[in-house]
């Protein structure tokens, strides 16, 4: 499902070159729950951005659900991202002016679903994360845990092939974090592939496979779990 082979990504400043990913190879199969861990500067975020098609890479091969993404144009990448990937962010990244319903609606608008299709998907996603009664609330009227649930509903509404989560519980207290984690596990059990990027070993322990990075290189966990 996700196949990265010898991916390299270097950031160049005026005087400094930073090798964020070096000969990075990783396969993730459908239905996996993978945690990508490592210290700050290990390349976790760069991996997440490359995997999420938010950033290009210098060399290597990346096939997402069978599609070689290296030659795709912005419009095709955006469509692929919209259809295949759901993002969950540490800071939720909800649009503050939009209410819960409209926030979940954003990716569905770009997919071109009809109004009735969007409505039923939004209601189902909010039901799934336990926020069916709050579609008109603005993000500022919700707790952190609730905002993250909205973020998860938004990621789920388009029924993506996999979720990319960047420190999804990083801004939550332990009780809320537990709730979000339970929800992610439930989603994974239902068949959605989940990749979590985190430096939190406790969170990583919930994944069925851990990939550990250091200096842009995979130290262990590159192979698919048996």
């Amino acid at each position: 499902m996700l196949r990265m082979h010898d991916i390299s990504k270097t950031f160049r400043a005026e005087l400094v070159e930073t090798h964020a990913l070096r000969d990075f190879s990783l396969d993730i199969d459908e239905g996996e729950f993978v945690a990508v861990t490592g210290p700050s500067g290990s390349g976790k975020t760069t991996f997440l951005n490359v995997a999420g098609l938010l950033e290009s890479f210098d060399t290597g091969l990346y096939r997402l659900d069978g599609v070689d993404v290296s030659e795709l144009k912005d419009r095709e990448l955006s469509r692929l991202r919209n259809e295949k990937i759901g993002f969950i962010f540490q800071n939720f990244n909800l649009i503050p002016d939009l209410n819960v319903f409209d926030n979940v609606d954003v990716p569905l608008r770009y997919r071109g679903f009809s109004a009735s299709e969007r409505r039923s998907r939004i209601e189902a996603a909010l039901q799934r994360v336990g926020l069916a009664g709050r579609p008109k609330h603005l993000p500022s009227q919700l707790s952190g845990g609730q905002q993250q649930r909205v973020g998860i509903a938004r990621a789920l509404a388009g029924e993506p092939r996999f979720l990319l989560a960047d420190e999804p519980t990083g801004n939550l207290d332990s009780q809320m974090a537990e709730g979000v984690l339970d929800l992610l596990q439930e989603i994974n059990k239902a068949g959605t592939t989940i990749i979590i990027v985190t430096h939190d070993p406790t969170l990583a322990a919930h994944a069925r496979r851990q990939v550990h990075l250091k200096d842009g290189v995979i130290l262990n966990g590159a192979e698919t779990a048996p």
Binding site: T45, N49, G52, L54, E55, D74, R75, L77, S78, R79, R81, N82, E83, F87, F89, Q90, N91, N93, L94, I95, D97, V106, P107, R109, Y110, R111, G112, A115, R154, G158, D166
Partner: protein
């Protein structure tokens, strides 16, 4: 079906973007208001001057301006051309105008000159007052499609017999006869009794276009009365308007003027087609060649039958001041748009985080470009509406600078209003291209993490 489906998708996305645009504008009213004000002020200034220039250059009689021709003959001095240029003098001598009238070679033709008469009342308590008069031939009214409320013009026979008849303008008929049908009634003009044969209906062309060569420019209004051309001689109706001579009169008084090479008469002809026009031009050349044999017309042949709009362009119906002000107003609009560009840049780059989120959720650069263009278009449209109001105020201000009432002349029509709004939208869309391009090229990854 596929086209219809794509159209429906496009409309759906446009409606979504419109909703977002309105929400964004409401969310930041001060910044949005500044942009609307900048565009509105720029458009107001620019459109005021565009309207002034447009009105000066507009066709005063669009339904038949192409068949109306102004006739000029080069009867000027052998030593120098008219004003040193290659154009013939703008008016005719009495000798030539009379000859052209007698030949009757055009479908319709009219000689004319400005004049002035005093209206004398039978009542002792009412003082006489002067009115502007146009002395002209019978075809004048049909030539320029002059509308009548009562009666009509006079006949060729009345012209020939120098009958003391008069056509009144609406205002003067209101003043003298209280607005009633005065046809058949008489009034005393400069000591002679005239019979009213017609009263004009409302007729206020944008300028006194038939008198352009002799002072009928912007702000000029049509005369109060019209009398037969022959009365200039028979009743010695006092003339007014430009008179130019290249050699001294031989004698004094009206008779000397009539026999002179002085030019003071405007002459118009109507041709139904190109052939008629060409025939008439040939006739003019033949006439002038005949006059050359009599010792007149010392200059080379230079006769013109100029269509009305060509004459308007040639004379330059748009004053230089208006053209300069138009240039300045365009520069002012550019400055306003530059300010708007800066504000849009600040606004859109301030949305970098939302742009990052939307990119992550599947929006392409193109989709976001469209979204922000819609927002810029809405701001532009609002600026255009404000600009319309400011244009109206600007035109009122310009009107106030002149003694004559230019109100009717400087009115904005629906076409100019549409131009104002379209110009505002287009200008704001062009202005927004750079800010929108910058906004759509932000790196989403940087903003998703940094928020």
């Amino acid at each position: 079906m596929r086209v219809a489906s794509r159209l429906a998708d496009g409309l759906e996305l446009f409606s979504y973007n419109l909703g977002l645009a309105l929400r964004n504008i409401r969310r930041n009213p001060v910044l949005s208001g500044l942009m609307v004000a900048a565009i509105g002020i720029g458009i107001g200034a620019c459109m005021s001057m565009v309207t002034v220039n447009y009105r000066f250059a507009a066709d005063p009689i669009p339904h038949k301006s192409d068949v109306l021709h102004y006739i000029r003959l080069d009867s000027w001095s052998p030593d120098q051309s008219w004003q040193g240029g290659d154009r013939p003098p703008p008016q005719l001598t009495y000798v030539d105008a009379t000859a052209l009238l007698e030949e009757k070679r055009a479908f319709r033709q009219a000689a004319m000159s400005g004049a002035s008469l005093a209206v004398e009342s039978d009542r002792r308590d009412e003082k006489p007052f002067f009115v502007d008069v146009r002395a002209t031939t019978a075809d004048f009214f049909a030539l320029f499609d002059v509308p009548f409320r009562y009666g009509g013009g006079w006949s060729d026979e009345a012209d020939a017999a120098a009958e003391q008849v008069v056509v009144l303008g609406t205002d003067v008929n209101d003043r003298i006869f209280g607005g009633r049908d005065s046809v058949g009634e008489t009034l005393t003009l400069s000591g002679r009794v005239y019979r009213v044969v017609g009263v004009l209906d409302e007729w206020q062309p944008s300028i006194r276009f038939y008198d352009m060569a002799s002072g009928g420019g912007p702000g000029s209004e049509i005369e109060d009365m019209f009398v037969p051309w022959s009365l200039i001689v028979a009743a010695e109706v006092p003339r007014r308007g430009n008179t130019n001579c290249w050699k001294p009169l031989e004698g004094d008084g009206l008779r000397a003027l009539l026999a002179s090479e002085c030019i003071w008469i405007q002459f118009w002809a109507e041709f139904r087609d190109t052939a008629e026009r060409e025939d008439y031009t040939s006739f003019l050349d033949a006439y002038v060649n005949g006059q050359k044999e009599l010792g007149r017309f010392p200059r080379p042949l230079n006769n013109h039958a100029t269509p009305l709009m060509d004459l308007q362009r040639e004379i330059g119906s748009v004053p230089t001041e208006a053209q300069v002000l138009l240039g300045l107003s365009v520069i002012f609009l550019a400055v306003c748009l530059l300010n708007t560009l800066g504000l849009l840049l600040a606004k859109f780059l301030g949305k970098a985080n939302e742009i990052g989120i939307r990119r992550a959720l599947g929006a392409s650069r193109r989709t976001l470009f469209q979204q922000y263009l819609v927002e810029a278009g809405v701001i532009g449209a609002a600026g255009g509406v404000l600009g319309l109001g400011l244009t109206w105020l600007g035109l009122k201000g310009i009107d106030g600078q002149f003694e004559d009432d230019l109100g009717a002349f400087l009115q904005m029509d629906w076409k100019m209003a549409l131009v104002a709004v379209v110009l505002a939208v287009v200008a704001s869309l062009i202005t927004s291209i750079y800010p929108t391009w910058r906004a759509c090229n932000v790196q989403p990854a940087a903003h998703l993490k940094a928020n």
